[in-house]
Structure formats: structure tokens, C-alpha cells
């Protein structure tokens, strides 16, 4: 269990030396308990206190990194069961399965999809992270050949899957520089795979037939000095796998049960043969605690929904997503097209731009930086008022793009129309609808 401020205080030097930047040791202890400062800031801590405190402050679910270089994926490190309690930290890595029995042309096509399927949203690039290479052939040479091909054509992080420890070893050696995730240590091969993980310094999956068996395996590998582990409870039905995810996370968080304090891996690719069903199963684990989700293939129609679901669930509830300030052209507007303005809360932007698109009236949408606040909140906070909007409209350059000088403001900011007409001389301010849903009807009757 985490230590309280008082328990931490007892281990501190109690000299109130202020070198940590806090006025007293007690103040430092309180901040440490709240996770607001680093233990290392105390220069006079005893070795004994250091080790006790470090152990107590270790994260309940270990963050594990897979891969090397730019495409390193970090999973785990979660601290809550429900996102509103704080936030979810590391989005589950999405992996595409490649069997080593596939022919070259098919592998090329898959890698092509993996590499090109990227989607820009709110200034972020959404993309899958991992490629899982599975040794279905049972032959080491075949496995290594596919690994080399994948390595050469993609910089995705790798998962190597083989039931045979020697084949897994051959694969790991072929790409140890890429720090692949080894799949998997089981009760039958635990010693050999643990040795391989140690030798190559690669993270390793533990696969068991039940959570109890997983605990045993986890203790065994921990004793062997392995630290970076990922858990596969072995369940391949939706209900069992769903329950396992909840058990593993709650054991780690509520009980600080170390043997299960690792991210998980789930395999929808082994739970159904129907790609549509597989996508929906994967969506359950994106919401509920999957650390890595392995898909049998990647198609735009299923990958895109999973990526946006993941983006949403892993958005920090305390920090709204924002869109970049500027002029957005929707539907190819010209000098006679309407000009609308809204706030830069990403949801507002998506909804407003979507409705403008629905109207089929080409338009300019001005997005004003309101620090991610919605129109009403930004207006109340003085960030979407006449003297904030006017300078932006002047400097953004919209006046050069349209012949008319008419600006449509959101209905919720109607109170600003007078102030804006004063500040923006030559512009006519028009009050648009309050609800985005009414934008299409409004735009259809708009005339320059």
C-alpha cells in the first residue's frame, strides 16, 4: 500500500534543511505522498529510507516499453479503474498479426496498410503501433526471414510469437536491437524464455491458463530477475477475458498485488473469425483495460473507429483537446462564401465543421483560440468576447478572402455583436443559431 505523508515523514532526516525547496520535512513528505515531488530532491536521505520509500512509491502497474527508437510504445502505468478518477495514462498498443506462413505478396500488402494507415485528428496522428509476427510454420528459418522482411519495411514495434523457445530465441536474436516483446513464457518453458528475456533485455509476455497460474509464473520470473512483463491470462472468450482484465487491474491497484502489477495483452484475433465481430471485441478492451490489443488484420473501416475510440477514452478529463487557431476552409469556399466563427474546443470544432459540411454550403470557419473552452464557457471566461475576437479576425487575414464583410457568430455569444461591430469597423455581425444542428438551415438562407 502507498505510504501516507506521516509514514514518509518518519523516514525523512527531520532536519528542515530546506534544500529540497520545501520549508519543512513534513511539507516535503506531504507533497511526496501526493506524488507532486521526486524523492531524489532530498539530499540527505539514508540508504535504508531510500530503498523503503522507492519500493513504496513504485507504480502499482509497471510501465513497460516495447521497441526502440521513434516507434517505442509504452503500455501500463495505469493508476485508476475509472478515467474520471484521474485519467488513463498509456493508450493500449494496437498490433497487426502477421503469420509467418503468409506469402510474400500478402505480407507486403499488410505492411503497406500498417505503414500508411494514419489519421490526423486534433493535430494528433492516430496510427497503430505494433506488428505481431506469429510462428505458425514451426520453422525457425521461416520465422527469421519474415522478421527480417518486416524489420526492413516497417519501423513498427514488434511482438514475436512462438510456442517453441528455440524458435523464439532465433527470432529474438534477429531483431534484439528493436527490443521486441517476446511471446510467451508459459509454465512449460518459463526457464528458457526467462533466460532469453534476460540475455536480450527484451520485455516478455507471461501466458497462463488462469489468473492463479499467472500469479505463479509472475513470481517465478520476478525471482529470476525479470522486470518488464506483460500478462496474457489465456482467456479467449469475451466474458472470461473481460473479467480477467478487471481482476488484474483491480488486484494491482486496490490491493497493490505485485505479481499482477503489469500491463496485459489481449488477442481478439484468437477470439473470432469474423473481422466485424473482432473489431467490436477489440473495442471492449480499448475501454476496459487492455494493454496491447492484437488484431488479425487492419482495415480502414475497423481501425479508424478503434483509434478514435481510444483517443476519446484516453483523453485527460482535466484537459480538453483543442484545435489550432486559424481559418478552416470547408467545401471549397470562394469570395462570396459565408464566414463563421467558433471556439477551439475540439468537440465544438468537430460538431460545427460537421454541420457546415452537412449544409453543403461552402464556408470559411474561423477557429479562435479559447484555450480549449466551449463557446459558452469561453464567453463567460472572457476568452470569446469582442475585444478577444476582433484582433483575431483582423490578423487572421479573412478580410482578404471575402468580398463581403459579414461575420456569423454563435447564438450563445449574441451579446458580443454590438461590441464586435464597434471593434471591427466595416464588418456586419450576424447572430447565428445557438445549436450547431441548426447551422445547415441557417446557411441555406444566408446571402452575402
Amino acid at each position: 500500500m502507498p505510504l501516507t505523508g506521516i509514514e514518509i515523514f518518519k523516514l525523512l532526516p527531520k532536519t528542515n534543511c530546506k534544500q529540497c525547496g520545501e520549508p519543512t520535512c513534513l511539507a516535503f513528505a506531504m507533497k511526496l505522498a501526493a506524488g507532486k515531488v521526486e524523492l531524489a530532491l532530498c539530499p540527505t536521505l539514508s540508504e535504508e529510507a531510500k530503498s523503503k520509500l522507492a519500493e513504496a512509491s513504485a507504480p502499482p502497474i509497471r510501465p513497460v516499453s516495447i521497441g526502440a527508437g521513434g516507434r517505442t510504445v509504452k503500455v501500463g502505468g495505469e493508476t485508476v479503474m475509472f478515467r474520471h478518477e484521474k485519467r488513463f495514462e498509456n493508450p493500449p498498443g494496437l498490433a497487426m498479426l502477421i503469420k509467418d506462413t503468409l506469402d510474400d505478396a500478402e505480407i507486403d500488402k499488410r505492411l503497406e496498410r500498417f505503414n500508411t494507415f494514419q489519421y490526423i485528428r486534433v493535430g494528433l496522428t492516430l496510427r497503430p503501433e505494433l506488428i505481431a509476427i506469429r510462428n505458425d510454420s514451426g520453422v525457425a528459418d521461416k520465422f527469421v526471414a519474415v522478421i527480417n522482411k518486416v524489420k526492413q519495411k516497417s519501423d513498427g514495434a514488434l511482438i514475436l510469437m512462438s510456442a517453441k523457445a528455440d524458435v523464439l530465441a532465433a527470432g529474438a536474436k534477429a531483431c534484439a536491437d528493436r527490443k521486441p516483446l517476446l511471446y510467451a513464457a508459459t509454465k512449460d518453458n518459463a526457464d528458457a524464455v526467462a533466460a532469453l528475456a534476460k540475455e536480450t533485455a527484451c520485455p516478455v509476455v507471461l501466458k497462463a491458463g488462469s489468473v492463479d497460474e499467472l500469479v505463479e509464473l509472475s513470481n517465478k520470473l520476478t525471482a529470476a530477475g525479470i522486470k518488464d512483463m506483460v500478462l496474457d491470462t489465456g482467456s479467449r472468450t469475451l466474458r472470461r477475458a473481460f473479467e480477467d482484465q478487471i481482476w488484474v487491474r483491480s488486484a494491482a491497484l486496490a490491493k497493490k498485488f505485485r505479481p499482477l502489477g503489469f500491463p496485459t495483452i489481449v488477442l481478439p484475433c484468437e477470439m473470432t473469425d469474423d473481422p466485424m465481430k473482432e473489431a467490436v471485441i477489440a473495442s471492449v478492451f480499448v475501454a476496459k483495460y487492455g494493454g496491447i490489443v492484437v488484431l488479425s488484420d487492419m482495415r480502414g473501416e475497423s481501425l479508424f473507429p478503434l483509434l478514435v475510440e481510444r483517443l476519446n477514452i484516453y483523453t485527460d478529463p482535466q484537459r480538453p483537446l483543442a484545435t489550432t487557431e486559424g481559418i478552416y476552409e470547408i467545401g471549397g469556399p470562394n469570395e462570396n462564401s459565408p464566414v463563421l466563427i467558433t471556439s477551439n474546443f475540439s468537440l465544438t470544432y468537430f460538431i460545427v465543421s460537421g454541420e457546415i459540411e452537412n449544409s453543403k454550403v461552402p464556408s470559411y470557419l474561423l477557429v479562435k483560440d479559447t484555450e480549449g473552452l466551449s463557446v459558452m464557457t469561453a464567453w463567460a471566461a472572457g476568452k470569446f468576447v469582442a475585444d478577444a475576437i476582433a484582433p483575431f479576425v483582423k490578423k487572421c487575414g479573412i478580410a482578404d478572402k471575402v468580398k463581403h464583410h459579414k461575420l456569423v457568430i454563435p447564438g450563445y455569444a449574441a451579446a458580443e455583436s454590438g461590441g464586435l461591430e464597434e471593434e471591427l469597423s466595416g464588418w456586419k455581425i450576424m447572430v447565428g443559431p445557438r445549436e450547431a444542428a441548426h447551422i445547415p438551415a441557417y446557411l441555406k438562407t444566408w446571402t452575402p
Binding site: R83, D212, W247, F257, P305, V308, N358
Partner: protein, 314 residues
């Protein structure tokens, strides 16, 4: 070290609400644990899916959403029957889009006559959803309540601004109300209290937290719903122990992401399958957050979500 399954301490239960009348009436709610946490409690009534029917022909629906209803979209009775006969709908939601003052602005009598026809033609529970315009909904939904007495309709959205008049007519003619609030747990609780004060019995209330689809802020309603369940089940807050209804289909199918043709953006994949998955995945997320009734559109998306429900309890 042996492994003990950690258990949540529950102190409350979601109220059971019976929807509709006759042999095909359904009961929702009754959960004693978080959604699908069957190792901790019961889910005596599995979540139900209501299929959408519109009272005027849809405009600007993508082809994928129209295709399953070809030939019936200008006839709400035929549309509702098709949903039941061909797609096995357990409930119908009639969206009264034609009454929108910003659209066709059809009058209350005309709208209520259509509702009555649909209600008489089907035996599954009927949800009747207005336009969230307080004045218009008050007029329309009161008329609907009156002409459909005895059907135990589910009428909404009932918001703070119109809860008195619509609530009173729901008590009078005994229909269930959809207590609707804008993604805010405190406002939801307050409206439930107001409805209680008005005399609406607990077994005639279900909650609408206002939902949106993936890519459009689903995280807000997702967390509000999780907090509602937490308050109701672990903090014994009886004003948040009502079943939750999610009017999700119309949110998903109006987005640009379900409409983009594959030829325009090949990375987005097959448009029909994408639309189905956007709906199914949005609905699945809402199920995991506590949805008891999901209002859905595409038969294939519904099939997928039914599959998830079945497998989560198998």
C-alpha cells in the same frame, strides 16, 4: 501468494422499470453491480436495443443506413413492422423529427395521430422522442400521452424546462418519462428529484445523460454514466438509481466520418462497414458505461451489439 478476486463494496441497486404493456413488455434495470461485473452481482435484465423509426422520410442519410429500410421510410407503421419482423426489434423508438419548429414543424395532432397508428400496429414497447424544443415537445408529447393512454409509452426528452407539463401528463395517462439532462451528473440528479416532487413514481423514470458517438466526445457521457452507476451502486444515491437510455444512432450517422466514400479517402476503408462499426463501437462503449436501453439504427450494428451482450454474459 494466492490470488483473491478484489470485490467492490456495493450498497445500492438500479431500479427496475417496466416498459410497454402486454406480452411483449420489457423490464430494464435491476443491476446490483457495475455493467457486466457478473462476478460481483446480478444483471437480471440484459440491456435492450430499440430500433429507430422516423415520422418523416430521412434526409441525408448515407446509403448504408437507408438500404435496410428501402421502401418503408415514408411509412412509419410499415417501417416499425419491418424492424420487428425482419430484424427482431424488441422495442421501437419513433423519432418525431417532423415536429421540429426549425424543420417541417408538423402540428401536435398530426404527430400524435402517427404515434397512435404506430402504437396500435405493434406490440413491442414504443419510445417517442421529440425535438428537445420545450414548447413544441410540451404540446406534442402531451397530446401523444393522451391519445395513447394505456400503452405505457416511453416519452422524452423531458428536460427541466418542460418537465412539469409533460411529467403531469405522463402521470395522468401513465407513461414512462425519459429524464434528459446535458451530460452532467448533478443536473441529472436534480431533474430526477424534481420529477419525484411532481409525483412521477420511480418506476416511470429512465435517465438520458445525452450521448455522443466515438470521435465526438463519447468520453464525456461515458464518464458521466460511470459516475451515475458509481453513485447509485456504491454510494446508495437513490436519485441516480434509474436505468439509462442512450439515443445513440442519430449521433453516429450524422457525422462526416460515416459518410466519406472509400474512393475519396481509401484509408477510411469500406463506407458501409465503417458506418456499422462506428455505430456498434459507440453503442458498445455506452453498454460498458451502464446503458440499459440503446436506440440504434443499422441491423448489422445491432446484431454485433447483441452478440457482445450475449458473449459478455455467457
Amino acid at each position: 501468494m494466492a490470488f483473491d478476486i478484489p470485490k467492490t463494496a456495493y450498497s445500492g441497486k438500479i431500479k427496475e422499470v417496466k416498459l410497454g404493456s402486454g406480452g411483449k413488455a420489457v423490464t430494464v434495470g435491476g443491476e446490483t453491480a457495475y455493467p457486466f461485473y457478473l462476478f460481483e452481482g446480478q444483471m437480471p435484465n440484459l440491456p435492450k436495443i430499440a430500433m429507430e423509426v422516423y415520422d418523416s422520410p430521412p434526409e441525408e442519410w448515407p446509403a448504408a443506413a437507408l438500404e435496410p429500410f428501402a421502401g418503408v421510410t415514408n411509412d412509419p407503421v410499415a417501417w416499425a413492422k419491418k424492424c420487428i419482423t425482419d430484424y427482431g426489434a424488441e422495442m421501437i423508438c419513433l423519432q418525431l423529427k417532423s415536429t421540429d419548429p426549425n424543420g417541417l414543424n408538423r402540428g401536435a395532432d398530426e404527430a400524435a395521430a402517427v404515434v397512435k397508428k404506430v402504437a396500435d400496429a405493434i406490440d413491442v414497447p414504443l419510445i417517442v422522442w421529440g425535438t428537445a424544443n420545450h414548447d413544441k415537445d410540451t404540446e406534442v408529447l402531451r397530446k401523444v400521452s393522451e391519445v395513447c393512454q394505456g400503452k405505457n409509452l416511453i416519452i422524452g426528452p423531458v428536460e427541466e424546462g418542460d418537465h412539469k407539463k409533460i411529467g403531469a401528463s405522463a402521470i395522468g395517462y401513465r407513461h414512462t418519462v425519459v429524464a434528459s439532462t446535458p451530460i452532467d451528473i448533478n443536473l441529472a440528479k436534480q431533474l430526477n428529484i424534481l420529477l419525484g416532487n411532481l409525483g412521477v413514481p420511480d418506476d416511470l423514470i429512465i435517465m438520458d445523460p445525452t450521448v455522443s458517438g466515438i470521435g465526438y466526445g463519447i468520453e464525456y457521457c461515458y464518464s458521466v454514466m460511470e459516475r451515475m452507476r458509481m453513485a447509485g451502486l456504491t454510494q446508495g444515491d437513490d436519485k441516480l438509481q434509474f436505468p439509462i437510455i442512450c439515443n445513440i444512432a442519430k449521433e453516429v450517422w450524422k457525422t462526416k466520418e460515416v459518410k466519406i466514400p472509400e474512393v475519396e479517402d481509401p484509408k477510411m476503408g469500406d463506407a458501409k462497414k465503417r458506418g456499422i462499426l462506428m455505430e456498434a463501437i459507440s453503442a458498445t462503449a455506452l453498454l460498458l458505461a451502464g446503458g440499459d436501453v440503446l436506440i440504434m439504427r443499422h441491423p448489422e450494428a445491432i446484431k454485433l451489439v447483441r452478440g457482445v451482450i450475449a458473449e459478455l454474459v455467457k
